[in-house]
Amino acid sequence: MTDHPGVPLPKPVFDPDLLSRCISCGFCLPACPTYAETGDEASSPRGRINLMRALQNGDLAPDDPTLKEQSSQCLGCRACEPVCPAGVEYGQLLEQWRDHQWRGRRMPVLARALMLAAGRRVPFRLLGRLRGTPRTTVVETSALASGGASLMLGCFERVLFPRVGRAALALVPGLTVPASQSCCGALHAHNGDTATGERLAHRMGEDLPGTIVTTSGGCAAHLASVLGRARVRELSDHLATGSAYRPLGELRVDGRRARVALQDSCHLRNGLGVRTAPRDLLAEIAHYVELPSAGTCCGAAGTYSLLRPRESRRILTTKIDEVEAAGVDFVAAVNPGCLRQLRTGLRRRRSQVKAVHLAELLLMAGESRFPVA
C-alpha cells in the first residue's frame, strides 16, 4: 500500500462544509449519465467527490490528469442532487472545481471566447435587434416597488431564438423588458469563473426589476443560486404557479391533437426542482408523452456540446432514438441549449419531429396556428 500523507493546499479549493456532506453511499451512481457511459467510478459523482477531496487534502497533485479530465467530462447536469439523501450540493462543488482547474490559461479557449462575448451588453443587443428580439422597454423605478415581473432575454437566446422571447411576452403581456441586460453569468459560473458568474447575476438583479422571468432553465437556476429563489422564475414555473395565465387552445397536427414530449432542463429539474409545471402546461394543449429519459441530460450541458462534441453527440444519439420511437410531433424544450442540441440532432437524423420551445408551443396553441419550422 502506498501512503499519501497529503499536504493540504494553501487556499482550499472547495468549501469544506460542502465537501464533507458526501458519505460515499453511492446512491448517485445510477443517476449519473457519464458513469452509465464509462462504468468507471472516476466518472461518477461519488468518485469525483473523492477526487476533489484528494485535491483539497493534497493527496493528488493539482495537475493530475484525472482531475483535469473528470472536471471537464462531467456534464454538470446535477442529476445526482435530487437522488442524494445526504443533500450534497454537487453543482456548487463542480463550479468550485472548474474555477480552480480552469483558472487562467487552462480554461478551454472556446469557453473563454464565449464568456468574453456574453459578458458584454452592446453586441447582443444589436444582434438581437437584427434577429427581431422583443422590443425592450424603459423601466421606471416604480416597477420595482410595485413588485412587477420582468423578462430576461438571455444573451445567446435572444440571438439564436428571438421568437422565444417574443412568445413569452405574448403569453404574459405585463412583463417589462429592460433594455439594459446582458448575460446572467451562468455561462461563467459553469465554466470556471464563479466570480464573474456572481457579478453578472448581481448586475442582472439590478437591471431587471421585480421577479425575473426567464425562458432558460439553466439561467434561472444560476440566478436563483446568487439572487435567491424568490427573485427568479423560469417561464413554465411562472405561468403555472406565479401568474394568472391559463393555457388556451389546442395544438393540432393533421386534424388531430398533437403528441408532444418534453426534454427537461437539467438545472431547472435538478437545481430548482421544477418538474410538473412544463408537463402540466403541455398536457393542457396537447397529448403529452413522457420520454423514458426526459429527466436525463441531452448532452447540450451548456458549453459541453462545443467542448466535448464526441461525447455530447453520443448522448444525443440515444436521446434522438427515444424521441423518434415515441411517435411525437414535437419535443418541447425549456432551455436554449437543449433546444439547439435537439434541433441539431433531429436535423441530422432528418426527423419529422420538431424541437420547439415551450413558450412557442403555448402561443401556437393559443393562436391555433401551425409552427413555422
Partner: protein, 459 residues
C-alpha cells in the same frame, strides 16, 4: 507492484480497462465505509471469467493482493485495499443471462445491480427477494459476497436463501461451479453457502444461479408512531408473538424520522419519538387482514397514531424513504458511523435501552433505525466534525460496548453488513479462538498464497 506485473495485467484486460495513475486510483481507495481508505496499486475491469482467471494468475505469480469489488456500496470496508494490490471491478460482467419462469430462477453475471434484476424478474411476474437499502447501486455479486439482508428479511430471509449455485474462480486459477439449478442438491459440502458471505476472501464469483419467487399481487403498508423506540420495539415483539410474519417491520427513532423527512418530504410526524413501518404482501384479503391485526397490536401497545397507506405508490415512497435513512442522517453532521448489531427478536426493546444508556454514558448522540422484525439494529453515531477526534474516539468506545451488549443478549456484531476490515477486530470475541482458527484453515485451503482480499475474513 512490479512493472512486468502491470504490463501483464494491461495485456490481459486491455489498456482501456486498466488503471494505475494516482488520479485513476483515488476513486477506488474507499467504499461506503467511513474512516477506511487505502489506495490500491492498480484497478482492472475484466470482461469475462477467463480474464478474471488470468488476473488471479498474475497476482499469484507476483504475490499481489486482489480485492474483488462490485459497486463499492458495502458498509464494512470489505473492498478497501488495506494492503494495496489490484482492485478487481466486476461491473463489466453485467448481463442477465437467463430468467426461467418455469424453474423460478435467474442466471446472472455478478455486475448486475439488485434493482435491475428485480425489475427484470418483475416483468415475468417474479420477485427477486433480497432487498438491501442500496439495491439501486449494489451489484448482485456484492450482495452475495456480503450475504446482504435488507427490508424483506423477516418474511423472505436474506441473500443466502436465494443462491442456488455459483460459478467462481479460485485464487489458484481453477473455475468451479457449485450447486446449480436444483432446489434439492446435497452432493458434497455446501460450498455455495460457504462462498455466500465470504466477502471476496475465498474465490471470485463470476456467475450466480438465483431463486426467484412468484411476485405477490398486493402490497400494503402502515405507519405507527410511538413515544420512543423501545415502545416500538415492544410492539414489534408482540406482532411476531401474535403469529404474524409480515414482509416489512422497520423502525426509526426521532433523529432518523427528522432526517428522512427533511429529504423525502412525505409528511411524517417529526414530533414522535419513533416510527414503525409495517407492511405485508400477498393476496389482497390476507394483506388487509395482516395490516389490520398489526394496527391493532400497535394500538394495544400504546401507539400514538396508526395509519395505513392506501396507495401502492405511497407504500413504495415510504420504503424508499426508509432505505435512505443512513445517508439522510449525514445531514446532521460530517461523519456518520453506522453499526449493525443484531439481537434475538424478543430482546429488541432491551437492546434499544442498552444503546441509549451506552450513548449517554459516553456522551455521544446515537440515532437508531433498523429492521426491527429481524432484531437488526443500525445504531448510528453522527459526529459534527471529522476533525473532532475526541468524539470519534468516544463513539468507537461506545460501539465496542454496543457489540458486547449484542453478544451478551445472544446476538451478533453484524446482522447484514459484514465483517470486512471494519469488524475483523471484534470477530474473535464472538466466534472464539477455535472457530477463528478453523476460518483461517478454510481460507488457506482456498487461497494458499493468501492473495484474495487479505486483512479481511480468514486473516
Amino acid at each position: 507492484m512490479h512493472a512486468t506485473a502491470r504490463a501483464a495485467l494491461r495485456s490481459v484486460v486491455g489498456p482501456g480497462h486498466f488503471r494505475e495513475t494516482d488520479g485513476e486510483l483515488v476513486p477506488y481507495s474507499r467504499d461506503a465505509t467511513p474512516l477506511f481508505q487505502a489506495r490500491p496499486d492498480a484497478v482492472v475491469f475484466p470482461a469475462d471469467t477467463a480474464e478474471v482467471g488470468a488476473v488471479l494468475d498474475i497476482a499469484t505469480r507476483y504475490a499481489v493482493p486482489v480485492i474483488p469489488r462490485g459497486a463499492g456500496s458495502n458498509l464494512c470496508a470489505a473492498t478497501v485495499a488495506s494492503r494495496g494490490g489490484i482492485v478487481l471491478v466486476l461491473t463489466r460482467l453485467n448481463r442477465i443471462l437467463e430468467i426461467a419462469p418455469a424453474e423460478l430462477l435467474a442466471r446472472v453475471q455478478p455486475g448486475v445491480t439488485s434493482a435491475t434484476l428485480a425489475e427484470a424478474a418483475s416483468r415475468d411476474g417474479l420477485l427477486w427477494a433480497p432487498d438491501p437499502g442500496s439495491r439501486t447501486v449494489a451489484t448482485v455479486g456484492g450482495t452475495i459476497a456480503t450475504n446482504a439482508g435488507g427490508l424483506r428479511g423477516l418474511k423472505y430471509g436474506v441473500t443466502r436463501d436465494y443462491v442456488l449455485g455459483l460459478e467462481a474462480v479460485l485464487p489458484t486459477g481453477e473455475v468451479i461451479r457449485t450447486g446449480g439449478r436444483l432446489h434439492k442438491d446435497v452432493a458434497g459440502y455446501d460450498l455455495t453457502r460457504l462462498l455466500t458471505g465470504s466477502e471476496g476472501t475465498l474465490a471470485v464469483i463470476t456467475e450466480a444461479t438465483l431463486a426467484l419467487r412468484p411476485a405477490p399481487t398486493t402490497t400494503g403498508t402502515g405507519i405507527a408512531y410511538f413515544s420512543d423506540l423501545a415502545a416500538a420495539g415492544r410492539a414489534v415483539t408482540a406482532i411476531i408473538a401474535a403469529g404474524i410474519l409480515p414482509a416489512t417491520l422497520e423502525f426509526l427513532d426521532r433523529s432518523c424520522i427528522r432526517a428522512v423527512e427533511d429529504f423525502a418530504r412525505l409528511g411524517l410526524r417529526t414530533d414522535a419519538g419513533a416510527l414503525l413501518l409495517f407492511g405485508d404482501d400477498g393476496e389482497s384479503d390476507a394483506v388487509a387482514h395482516a395490516l389490520e391485526r398489526m394496527s391493532d397490536v400497535c394500538t394495544a401497545h400504546h401507539a400514538l397514531d396508526v395509519t395505513t397507506a392506501a396507495e401502492v405508490a405511497q407504500a413504495e415512497a415510504l420504503l424508499a424513504a426508509r432505505r435512505c435513512a443512513l445517508p439522510a442522517l449525514s445531514r446532521l453532521g460530517e461523519l456518520t458511523i453506522l453499526e449493525d448489531a443484531t439481537v434475538p427478536r424478543p430482546r429488541i426493546a432491551e437492546m434499544v435501552d442498552r444503546i441509549d444508556a451506552i450513548g449517554a454514558r459516553h456522551g455521544v448522540t446515537i440515532a437508531t433505525f433498523g429492521h426491527a422484525g429481524d432484531g437488526n439494529l443500525h445504531p448510528t453515531c453522527v459526529v459534527k466534525s471529522q476533525d473532532d477526534t475526541d468524539t470519534v474516539t468516544r463513539a468507537e468506545r461506545a460501539f465496542a460496548e454496543i457489540f458486547a451488549a449484542a453478544i451478551d443478549l445472544g446476538g451478533t456484531i453484524t446482522g447484514e453488513h459484514g465483517v470486512g476490515a471494519a469488524k475483523l477486530p471484534y470477530l474473535s470475541t464472538q466466534l472464539g479462538a477455535d472457530q477463528i482458527d478453523l476460518l483461517r484453515r478454510l481460507k488457506t485451503a482456498f487461497d494458499p498464497a493468501g492473495i484474495l482480499n487479505p486483512g479481511k475474513l480468514g486473516s
